[in-house]
């Protein structure tokens, strides 16, 4: 919600949103409240997707499924056949496999799956926001193909070294002549083939912008119980 203010995500005119990995639904709720207050009810469309079932939320279309699965992606896209979405948000947190590198990989695949869905449903100039962008540096080059601006951010007062960083992609503008494809060849998993002299996964440095107010509650600080 802090990033909403910083990046003016839900400014006037925003009415159609896809909320990926939405359970238990706190973001969906926030979206629903904010959009339905600002826009006429008939314009607002919120599609929320998760593996887990969610409690119903007013004005939110809920789908249950794996966002990396082609059939789920197709279903989401079908809701946006005519009018495209203004924003896609994804808060996917994969189950931990215990293998650090595998966790990182699956996290990246979730983001890629979300990006793939995004290319089908997002209007030109739209935004894509990924929470939990700790490992996003792996995907920067992919994101840059589709968006004019990509930044990593973190609430200024956030906990040290936690995963609360998120990625904000502004101004969707796919390459000329790009036709979204469900089995996503363009987005396929070739993202780190260019190994340099250094061993290990090749990471890209993404601009960092802290957001939020310094005077905000410091989640790291231990406050007395006054």
């Amino acid at each position: 919600m802090q990033i909403d203010e910083e990046f003016k995500l839900l400014q006037k005119g925003v009415s159609k949103v896809v909320d990926l990995c939405a359970a238990p639904g706190s973001w969906s709720q926030y979206l629903s409240r904010k959009l339905r207050a600002a826009e006429s009810e008939s314009d607002v469309k919120i599609v929320a997707v998760d593996l887990q079932a969610m409690a119903p939320i007013d004005g939110v279309i809920q789908l249950q499924g794996d966002i990396t699965k082609e059939s789920t992606a197709t279903e989401i896209v079908s809701h946006f056949s005519g009018d495209k979405a203004d924003i896609v948000v994804c808060d996917g947190a994969p189950d931990v496999t215990g293998l650090h590198d595998m966790d990182e990989y699956i996290q990246a695949q979730l983001v890629l799956a979300a990006l793939n869905i995004t290319t089908h449903v997002l209007r030109h100039g739209g935004k894509f926001v990924c929470f939990r962008g700790k490992d996003i540096t792996l995907l920067y080059s992919q994101l840059k193909i589709f968006f004019k601006e990509v930044v990593v951010s973190k609430p200024r007062s956030s906990r040290n070294s936690s995963v609360e960083a998120f990625v904000v992609c502004l101004e969707y503008s796919p390459p000329e002549g790009y036709i979204p494809n469900m089995s996503n060849p363009l987005l396929d998993h070739h993202y780190d083939l260019d190994f340099n002299q250094l061993e290990g996964v090749n990471r890209v440095v993404v601009p960092f912008i802290a957001c939020g107010d310094l005077s905000a509650y410091d989640s790291d600080k231990t406050y007395g119980l006054q």
């Binding site: 593996l51 499924g65 794996d66 990396t68 699965k69 082609e70 994969p94 189950d95 931990v96 496999t97 215990g98 293998l99 650090h100 590198d101 595998m102 990989y105 699956i106 695949q109 979730l110 799956a113 700790k134 540096t137 990593v152 973190k154 200024r156 007062s157 956030s158 906990r159 040290n160 070294s161 089995s183 396929d188 998993h189 070739h190 083939l193 190994f195 250094l198 061993e199 290990g200 996964v201 990471r203 890209v204 440095v205 993404v206 601009p207 960092f208 912008i209 802290a210 310094l214 410091d218 790291d220 600080k221 231990t222 406050y223 007395g224 119980l225």
Partner: protein, 1059 residues
């Protein structure tokens, strides 16, 4: 230019395989994958030896091994595969047969074609590929019709022949995110272009982590996030073909027993499945889903992976250790009674006989009727020794023993004439010290050691006299002395049998309490006292007394842990109590599922598990509460007046006195396992330091698991001859335990004029711990905790032990720590805390006491993350701290030092000030200056003064930025240079090396060496070289001479060499 080379590491094992090699069938071989390395071990009859290792995946992580023909091994990890040949002729060697090949997708499983010319692998996108073994070129690609991300997959043979000649012979069992196991193959629909799904196994309620098959018994296992193992049976129609297409799957059983995620399972034969998981347990199952055995095989959390052969099970734990278990013993259904060893021990004199018995460590102590104290080791056939004989202890003695530092036993004896005798006995049963005290006029009614006091602190003894007066004593151990000081005096209410049977210290309402039970089963609660000196002071009365808490039979044992008081009794009940407003409040009461009638003892084991010693009919049982099973059963003919139970050196011992002799029964406690790789931290490493002591080099690490571990660095000294030699870390001691996690540590030489080194460590619960490391000529290091303090309250934490982590977040954490030697054996410790304060604490090596100095207070609005202390000039020393708001704060430390030095003696002798804020004469410290360079938290700072009046501060932040700030100390002018483009994630470690070089490390797993052409050239800082760090979640960096250690989930040590 200098370069760093990795010389050793401590990392978890991510893959294991037991193999037999055609070239040598007399040994079993084991391959382990740690990081990008493969290690080879061999065994002959159970003794394992390390053979060799090799880095084969270069910066990737080994995920699996698959054996092909002719001792060829395919190693896969992430997206790459390499083929190795194990050569074991003269020298054992791992040879690379086909160098590393990088494929486009993440590999989950691999199988060899029958002739080893090709292999098939399945990827995380549910794609099956066939590749040429020699060139690695991909020959075929088959996509499943279900296009999704997999968490696991296993490649299967066709069900009637274990032969693979083409892709059509390979079947994929895929573990999905949406709880299904999907079996598919490309051949079934050769005509249509999409491969078909043959089976969907539905039943799990979470992501699938592992799938396995056993063809003979037609069983498939799957394990999941849902904490279960599912066992599936497949069969074929009576007259149908035996193909996967026609097979019918049936869910045979669902195995519930793991308390957390299950990582893997294997099917051993027609009736056994073994699984491992996050709860660090090995579970042995019958295929009907019933548990045959449950073994807590590793410390704390996780068994990451396992390997099985006909003889062994190898498990690799979250505690970094690797253990090998004999399969035959593991599969044994119930422990048989044959393994019980029984012995009888008689008194030395014919007419004499033992009256009481107790066990501590690996020794058993007996007091005889004639006043003779006997001792012997528990091991079968050990020699009996007479420790002391004294007429005063004839006919009547109360006895109790406890563990004292370095494997010694401390025995308390109480006589009929009021004498209390304390005896310190060494491990080899030599009396090292004796102290006799006149306690009371009448009989000493009971002596009780308080076990729940911090085991590292001095032992505490509670003595009851005939008048119901209880006295609490602290026993300080010297080299050959035992000094006793009175800690408190308590009044035990009148009752028919007025003496204590069980007692413990408990913590509640922010106060320390003494809880004790008398012979008739009443429970009493007392507010504990500060150390008292006047012997005339009045005895404390209980704030709460409850009678008959465990029925008529009475209460048998009390312990305090996890914030509750736990009691058990002869009514078979287990009660939990908490302290609210100085009253005991019952929180739960239950009987075990087995309905025992007499619970005699409660053994808290940490990790949330508890065992009970129970008398049931004619047997004594050891019952595991968590596993809900009897782990030991001994026939002893019923309950006994004097008995003792212990678990020592892999054995359970039970001693009891019957018919005037001591009966000692013993039985192997746990399954014998061999440790191939020893334990290290079982949590994230948070800080590390290196030092030398008596010519040896050591590494000290602290971690989330609350431990501080000291390892010797062997062979790491730089030498031109042994240029290539790697280092070995030998764990020397790991006894220093924090009650919560440990965040930081600092080392300093002792001022006592010996070679000892002091360790100050800080962590959760505002705990500061002082320990001393001593090294003997053989390099054996002993660590002894000397003092412990809650730095927010300024009170000793030794007896305020509670292992509960619930309230941790509300608590203050010490985030970073430095120390400064003063005179008079005194050190000044600065501790940067999560509440934004820096606390100053004095430690006196002579008295071993910590004093919180409340005269100085530094308070920042945000949590402090890091701290460094820099002598700038002869009259200025600065403390430099980084905070979560991106600020670097400089504090004039000299001022503080000066005023403390002047008042040193006054300060250390002053009475404790209970509330710092209200004391009038404190100074609020103003920062010398503040620098804002980072957008968010400053995780690391390192500062040096290389030229006069200019301070260079290197800092690394949560904003991925490395900053170098030059501070003109005269004008307080700052020039900061920010480097945003070298690290792609948070910087968590930084260290200034020389005026022209520093190193930084980040959780992007990069170690950067920075340099500039000349100190005057502020703008020219650049990364000179970089190194990949195989440790995930890097959190700390330290340099010492030419060594550099990076810690996180494991650690890597580098050595610098100049080129």
């Amino acid at each position: 230019m200098s370069q760093y080379k990795a010389i050793c590491s401590v990392q978890r094992v991510t893959a294991a395989l037991l193999v037999e090699l055609a070239a040598d069938l007399s040994h079993q071989y084991l391959l382990l994958g740690t990081g990008s390395e493969v290690c080879l071990y061999s065994t002959e009859s159970g003794k394992w030896s390390f053979e060799c290792k090799s880095d084969v995946l270069h910066g990737r992580v080994v995920h699996g091994f698959r054996k092909g023909n002719g001792d060829i091994i395919a190693v896969f990890g992430q997206k790459s595969v390499t083929i190795l040949k194990l050569s074991i002729e003269d020298t054992k060697q791992i040879k690379v047969e086909v160098p590393l090949i990088e494929f486009p997708d993440w590999i989950l499983d691999l199988v060899w074609f029958s002739d080893s010319s090709r292999y098939a692998f399945v990827t995380a996108h549910n794609i099956l590929c066939i590749a040429c073994a020699f060139t690695g070129s991909v020959l075929e690609i088959h996509r499943s019709s279900i296009n999704c991300i997999l968490y696991s997959a296993k490649l299967l043979y066709s069900c009637n022949k274990k032969v693979i000649k083409s892709a059509a012979d390979v079947y994929v069992a895929a573990g999905t995110v949406f709880n299904d196991v999907i079996i598919w193959n490309r051949a079934q629909c050769a005509e249509s272009s999409t491969p078909s799904i043959l089976h969907i196994l539905k039943g799990h309620k979470g992501v699938i982590f592992d799938i396995n098959i056993e063809y003979d018994s037609q069983l498939v296992s799957s394990v999941s996030d849902d904490r279960t193992v599912h066992i599936w049976h497949y069969d074929f129609p009576v007259n149908g073909a035996r193909t996967w297409c026609d097979a019918k799957f049936q869910l045979l059983s669902v195995c519930h027993g793991h308390t957390s995620r299950v990582w893997a399972a294997v099917i051993l034969d027609h009736k056994t499945v073994i699984s491992i998981g996050e709860d660090a347990n090995i579970l042995v199952w019958n295929v009907d889903g019933s548990t045959r055995k449950k073994i807590k095989a590793h410390k704390r959390k996780n068994i990451w992976c396992m390997a099985v052969s006909n003889n062994y099970l190898v498990t690799c734990g979250g505690d970094m250790s690797v253990k090998s278990w004999e399969l035959s013993q593991l599969l044994h259904a119930e422990d048989s009674s044959e393994s019980i060893v029984r012995e009888q021990i008689n008194a030395v004199e014919v007419k004499d006989f033992p009256r009481t018995v107790c066990i501590t460590g690996s020794s058993c102590f007996m007091m005889t009727d004639q006043g003779c104290l006997l001792a012997r080791h528990l091991a079968q056939g050990s020699k009996l020794c007479v420790l002391l004989t004294d007429d005063r202890f004839r006919g009547y003695t109360v006895m109790s023993s406890t563990w004292a530092a370095s494997d010694k036993a401390l025995i308390a004896l109480g006589s009929a004439g009021g004498v209390l005798r304390l005896i310190l006995v060494s491990h080899d049963l030599v009396v090292e010290a004796v102290n006799d005290l006149d306690m009371c006029t009448g009989k000493v009614m009971s002596v009780t050691w308080l076990f729940d006091a911090n085991p590292l602190s001095s032992p505490l003894l509670l003595v009851t006299d005939t008048n119901g007066e209880m006295t609490l004593h602290e026993i300080a151990l010297g080299a050959s002395t035992l000094s006793v000081s009175l800690m408190g005096r308590y009044h035990l209410p009148k009752s028919k049998q007025r003496f204590v049977t069980a007692a413990c210290l408990a913590y509640g309402d922010d106060l320390l309490y003494l809880v004790c039970a008398d012979m008739v089963g009443s429970l009493h609660l007392y507010v504990s006292e500060e150390r008292i000196t006047e012997t005339t002071s009045l005895a404390t009365l209980p704030t709460c007394s409850l009678s008959k808490t465990h029925g008529k039979g009475g209460l048998t044992d009390i312990h305090f842990f996890s914030n509750y008081i736990h009691t058990v009794g002869r009514d078979g009940f287990y009660n939990k109590w908490s302290i609210i407003d100085s009253q005991l409040v019952n929180c739960s009461q239950f009987k075990t599922s087995k309905q025992f009638d007499w619970i005699a003892k409660l053994i808290p084991e940490g990790d949330g598990n508890t065992k009970l010693v129970v008398f049931h009919n004619t047997e004594v049982l050891l019952y595991d509460l968590l596993a809900e099973q009897v782990v030991l059963r001994l026939d002893c003919g019923g309950g006994h007046r004097s008995w003792a139970f212990s678990q020592a050196e892999g054995c359970h011992y039970f001693a009891y006195i019957k018919d005037k002799t001591t009966n000692l029964a013993s039985k192997a406690a746990t399954l014998p396992c061999t440790r191939l790789v020893g334990e290290h931290h079982s949590g994230k490493i948070t800080d590390c330091r290196m030092f030398s002591m008596r010519g040896r080099d050591f590494l000290v690490t602290s971690a989330d698991d609350g431990h501080v571990i000291v390892c010797e660095i062997v062979n790491a000294a730089f030498s031109h001859v042994s240029h290539e030699r790697e280092a070995v870390l030998k764990t020397r001691c790991s006894t220093l335990v924090h009650i919560s996690n440990t965040k930081c540590l600092t080392l300093t030489p002792s001022l006592a004029g010996n070679d000892d080194v002091l360790v100050f460590s800080g962590g959760g619960r505002a705990q500061l711990l002082v320990s001393v490391l001593t090294c003997d000529a053989d390099g054996e290091v002993t660590g002894a905790v000397k003092s412990s303090m809650n730095v927010t309250k300024g009170v000793s934490m030794f007896r305020r032990q509670s292992k509960d982590d619930n309230s941790e977040d509300a608590d203050v954490r010490i985030m970073a720590i430095t120390s400064h030697p003063l005179r008079h054996y005194t050190h000044l410790i600065s501790a940067a805390c999560s509440d934004g304060t820096i606390k100053f604490i004095l430690y006196d090596e002579g008295t071993q006491l910590l004093h919180l100095i409340t005269d100085f207070i530094y308070e920042h609005t945000h949590c402090l993350l890091t701290l460094d202390c820099v002598p700038v000039s002869s009259d200025l020393t600065l403390l430099i701290s980084g905070a979560t708001d991106g600020r670097i704060i400089l504090i004039d430390f000299t001022q503080i030092l000066n005023s403390i030095s002047g008042n040193l003696s006054k300060m250390t002798t002053r009475k404790k000030v209970s509330n710092s804020k209200s004391s009038s004469n404190f100074t609020l410290i103003q920062p010398f200056m503040q620098i804002s360079v980072h957008q968010s938290g400053v995780n690391a700072v390192s500062a040096q003064c290389y030229t006069e009046n200019t301070l260079t501060i290197c800092s690394g932040g949560d904003d991925n930025c490395v900053a170098v700030s030059s501070v003109d100390l005269q004008t307080k002018e700052v020039t900061s240079l920010k480097h945003n483009h070298q690290h792609s994630a948070q910087i968590t470690g930084i260290q200034s090396l020389t005026a022209d070089t520093f190193v930084s490390v980040s959780i992007d797993q990069r170690l950067h060496m920075w340099s500039r052409p000349s100190p005057s050239d502020d703008k020219e800082w650049g990364v000179e070289s970089s190194k990949f760090v195989s440790v995930a979640d890097v959190s700390t960096l330290c340099c010492y001479r030419d060594l550099l250690v990076v810690g996180g989930e494991g650690l890597v040590m580098f050595r610098r060499s100049h080129m």
